[in-house]
């Protein structure tokens, strides 16, 4: 099982990194999503992998248990990354509608001396 979890994290991370290096906003958003999946699985695995073990100590018998803290951390991380992805989609959509292109790169015009847009003028 360790092998499956580890390679899943690896594949998700590799895919995510490939996608966030793309030029356009949509693949980048997908890449960020993949990366956050990868990190969620990774966080989940930091408490060691245990199957069929309750996340609670048993004071009567020395039975195996799974670490509950990573599960709580993962829950927080999922909520945050979900919210962040929503914000990212909205910002990307705003940028796309304003600029009529979803390229991530700033065009040179944005750096040009005569471009005053976005300077609050």
């Amino acid at each position: 099982m360790e092998m499956i979890v580890a390679s899943a994290i690896g594949v998700l991370t590799a895919g995510g990194i490939y996608l966030i290096l793309r030029l356009r906003a949509f693949p980048v958003i997908l890449g960020i999503a993949l990366l956050s999946y990868a990190v969620n699985v990774f966080l989940f695995a930091t408490g060691r992998l245990a199957v069929n073990a309750p996340p609670i100590l048993n004071k009567y018998a020395d039975v195996s248990y799974s670490d509950p803290l990573p599960q709580a951390l993962v829950l927080t991380a999922i909520v945050i990354s979900f919210g962040m992805t929503a914000v990212l989609v909205m910002v990307a959509l705003g940028a796309y509608l304003e600029a009529d292109s979803d390229e991530i790169n700033m065009t040179d015009a944005g750096d040009d001396a005569d471009s005053t847009e976005g300077q609050g003028v």
């Binding site: 930091t46 944005g110 005569d114």
Partner: protein, 510 residues
């Protein structure tokens, strides 16, 4: 347990939703509330500063759960000072944003502003690594909103880059925390400090990975080379008051580096054994160079100031890289200075750029009251470049002195001194083009049909206040340095921190 410790987090957290939901249609009401909240925050942080004057580390246990099982907030000299710095900067920036009507160019400025303060104060106060991540996210999500405040094509594009960069950084942060938890089984900073020092060397591989990953995350925040490239685009395209507020955001990264790599991965930890300093030093030297070259090469005023911020972060982290109490005290002084210097320059640039209509560094017909702005720019440039009599000079001097005993002292001195020279040339060039060369074009403008209204006193208050802070820092450098020296002694007193947080319970755990 002193409940005031959590007030800098709770106050903005309660105020922001009220502003967003109740006062969203009434900008005047929102302004009053926001100003009142920020002033109250400043009062509270002065109170916190008096609490830490006893030299103790004060701990706030959320829900009264004993550490390390619950989340703790920790108030020591460093965090009290950073919260005070945040609240003073917030007052200055807020005043400027209101006086120049920036807050009315988009919606929800004040709510986002308060959420930003909540995140920053929380990051300074927390004593838990995962909680630090959460507060980073709070301050980031508010900063995304502030960054694209007012809209515009270029700003949204720059905002998108900023968001993507920071989301990637957050993912890296989670990976680092996961690795840290996997190897130590805790995320409480004090408990980590104990566990990391107990871990046998042969099991420290994962720990070392997490130490380096964390350094990368904080380096992104602190705009350290090679992950500094997001900063110029972001700051140059953000609304100027927001860029001034962001002066504290890079300091959050620097604070996290100082906190983590003295407390958890201190110089005495065998597992990382000087690894951090030897990575931060070259990165900081290159950052200093990048900042200076950027200042010289910038074609617009706002990117030039952004590169000046990059350079100042390099200088600050060069002092931190030494990881000695003297150097860190010097670095903290420079941190205070560079925050207000950056704020002053961005706020002034806002006034100038609004009147010129463009921030290009080319000669254009002079603006009304050219001399007044030129004088302000001159003082601001003195502050940013680190010339006497303002605090930048003392700050750089202290940093140079702080790294004097390091083996890489020659490199550091050469970098800082050469970069200062180049930065001075860059600022001199910008000032002469914007304010002097422009006067030659006076006649081409046949006659200004009507004289524009002179600038109101209100709009100048923000700039003047930041410059006054630089002057105050220089005048009271002695007492300030006294406080900072005690601060860095406290920083290196790891067992004091651990005992305060874990207390009696810590004894049991040991």
């Amino acid at each position: 347990m002193n409940h005031w410790i959590i007030a800098p987090v709770v106050l903005p957290a309660l105020l922001a939703p009220v502003i967003a939901y109740v006062m969203r249609h009434d900008i005047k009401l929102a302004r009053y509330a926001s100003v009142a909240g920020t002033v109250l925050l400043a009062v509270i942080s002065v109170g916190l500063l008096t609490i830490v004057a006893d030299g103790q580390t004060h701990v706030y246990y959320l829900g009264d759960w004993p550490a390390p099982f619950g989340i703790v907030l920790v108030l020591d000299r460093l965090s009290a000072m950073m919260v005070l710095l945040t609240s003073i900067l917030a007052m200055v920036v807020l005043w400027h944003a209101i006086a120049t009507e920036w807050d009315n160019r988009g919606r929800h400025f004040h709510a986002l502003f308060q959420f930003q303060l909540m995140g920053v104060c929380g990051a300074f106060l927390t004593g838990d690594a995962f909680n630090l991540f959460v507060f980073f996210e709070v301050l980031l999500i508010a900063s995304y909103g502030l960054m694209i405040h007012g809209g515009g094509k270029v700003r949204l594009k720059a905002g998108l880059q900023y968001v993507v960069m920071n989301l990637a950084g957050s993912t890296l942060f989670l990976f680092a925390l996961g690795a840290l938890y996997a190897s130590t089984g805790t995320l409480n900073l004090a408990d980590l400090a104990v566990k990391v020092r107990e871990l046998p060397l042969e099991e420290a591989g994962v720990l070392r990975v997490s130490a380096v990953l964390l350094l990368m995350v904080f380096a992104i925040k602190a705009a350290l080379f090679p992950v500094q490239f997001w900063l110029p685009g972001t700051y140059a395209n953000a609304p100027a008051p927001v860029a001034a507020l962001f002066a504290i955001m890079t300091k959050v990264g620097a604070y996290a580096i100082i906190r983590f790599y003295t407390l958890v991965f201190g110089p005495d930890v065998a597992a990382v054994d000087g690894l951090i300093g030897s990575w931060v030093m070259p990165a900081a030297v290159i950052t200093v160079a990048v900042g200076a070259i950027g200042v010289l090469g910038a074609r617009r005023l706002m990117p030039m100031l952004s590169f000046a911020v990059v350079g100042s972060m390099g200088t600050l982290l060069l002092a931190v890289a030494a990881f000695t109490p003297e150097a860190i005290a010097a670095g903290l002084y420079y941190l205070l200075h560079s925050t207000f210097a950056a704020a002053a320059s961005f706020l002034l640039a806002d006034l100038v750029v609004t009147r010129r209509g463009s921030d290009a560094l080319t000669a254009q017909p002079p603006i009304y009251q050219n001399g007044l702005f030129a004088a302000f720019f001159f003082v601001g440039a003195i502050g940013v470049t680190g010339m006497p009599p303002l605090s930048g000079f003392l700050g750089k001097l202290l940093v140079l002195d702080g790294v004097r005993d390091m083996p890489w002292m020659a490199t550091a001195w050469a970098a800082i001194l050469l970069a200062s020279l180049v930065t001075i040339v860059g600022f001199a060039r910008a000032g002469s083009v914007v304010f002097w060369k422009s006067t030659a074009m006076m006649d081409t403008e046949a006659d200004a049909s009507e004289t524009p209204a002179p600038i109101g006193v209100n709009a100048l208050v923000g700039v003047s206040a930041s410059l006054a802070m630089l002057a105050l820092l220089a005048s009271f450098a002695g007492p300030v340095m006294g406080y900072l020296e005690q601060t860095s002694v406290q920083l290196f007193d790891v067992s004091g921190y651990v005992d305060a947080v874990l207390g009696q319970h810590g004894e049991d755990l040991k």
